[in-house]
Symmetry: C2
Subunit: 221 residues, 2 copies
Amino acid sequence: MPVPTNFSAPVRLSAKERAFTQIQHWIIDGTLHPGEKLIDAELAETLSVSRTPIREALQLLEMQGLVMMQPGKETRVRGVEKDDILKMYPTLAALHCLAAEQAAKVIESEQTAKLNDLNTAFRFAIESGQPYQAMELDEQFHSLIIDIADNPYIANFSASLQIHIRRFKYVFLKQPGTSTLASADEHEALIVALRAHDATLAAETMRQNIIRPMNELYANL
Amino acid sequence: MPVPTNFSAPVRLSAKERAFTQIQHWIIDGTLHPGEKLIDAELAETLSVSRTPIREALQLLEMQGLVMMQPGKETRVRGVEKDDILKMYPTLAALHCLAAEQAAKVIESEQTAKLNDLNTAFRFAIESGQPYQAMELDEQFHSLIIDIADNPYIANFSASLQIHIRRFKYVFLKQPGTSTLASADEHEALIVALRAHDATLAAETMRQNIIRPMNELYANL
DNA sequence: AAACATTTGTCCGTATGTATA
DNA sequence: ATATACATACGGACAAATGTT
């Protein structure tokens, strides 16, 4: 009997993991509003598990900064403010700039080729009016650079920030975001810099690619 | 009876918090070795609590990257490698450079004065051979800049990295670190840049102040 | 291959603490 | 001020999964 090849992970999620992922999604997409009180017993019933995995999930979400627990008192969804993006994006930019620098030093031609493919698909998605596809491809593009930089601290911090940014967009824009062709152009310039192993230029291009959307976003609030 | 004025927080720590702090310390100072298997029941008995707060603490430590949990299998203290500092320090530098940039834009004269005081004490601690004092003052100096930058993401990520760096030093050097007068000089230059609201210069000086110790550290392994 | 030992995952009861009437 | 309701923190028991003999 042929064994399935794409047998990646026996996705047997624990109750805690399911709870974590689900509650996180609910916070990101606004199902759970900023400031809303979270009662573990309620969530437990909703998710058909006991309070234990819920409590564990909430504690992880607190460390991620999505909920706020006042020990012995109550736990609430963290609030969000407009000006928070002015703190999230520059931090994300600093991390991605560093990733671009590091990646520029070690990148191989197959990887720049892969980046090129992703950006081509990204551009097409924008031109053909598929914003969700575009966002996914944009994330894959940046994620690949993070991978190439091979730094788990950058990777973890960036992932955490992405969560907060995504939530911000849902809360304030009711949508996951929109990409423009300017972004595809910046990606192209970035690929050139990476291929030339020009760390400084790569970092600067990366910064533009992140700060520009921030300014556009902030202007539309 | 006069009530103590510095009655800030009724430090009634929960069992979870105590467990978290204690296990974290044990991992940092090497009492719990890299790769060591952690059995919640054992830790529970050692700390005289039930398994619940231990499990919660371990999960938080996993999210912090200090332990590795393999669901349903085992949980171990994360390993450390020499080259990890080449990933920790540049990430810390990127964050602190950003903090310096932001701080340069908003810093007030009382704050530069406070930084100056801290650096004077820092320099004195070095000259009078008090390495632990010096380290503390260095951390306060950097911490104040982070505070001024007023960005919770930078603050959280930096704090997390500090933990990992401190552990690295304990594991490889059996001590929390040593500061040199070069660092005090860099601090002085940094204060000048901040006072002049020169964000670029502040960032560059900050980078030196972090990357130089990394290189000295790496050379002595 | 199967029963065992070990460790982790989950449930639920209870005690403690906080807010409200 | 006291009592009451309510939510959280912790403990202990059971269930499930893994590795081993």
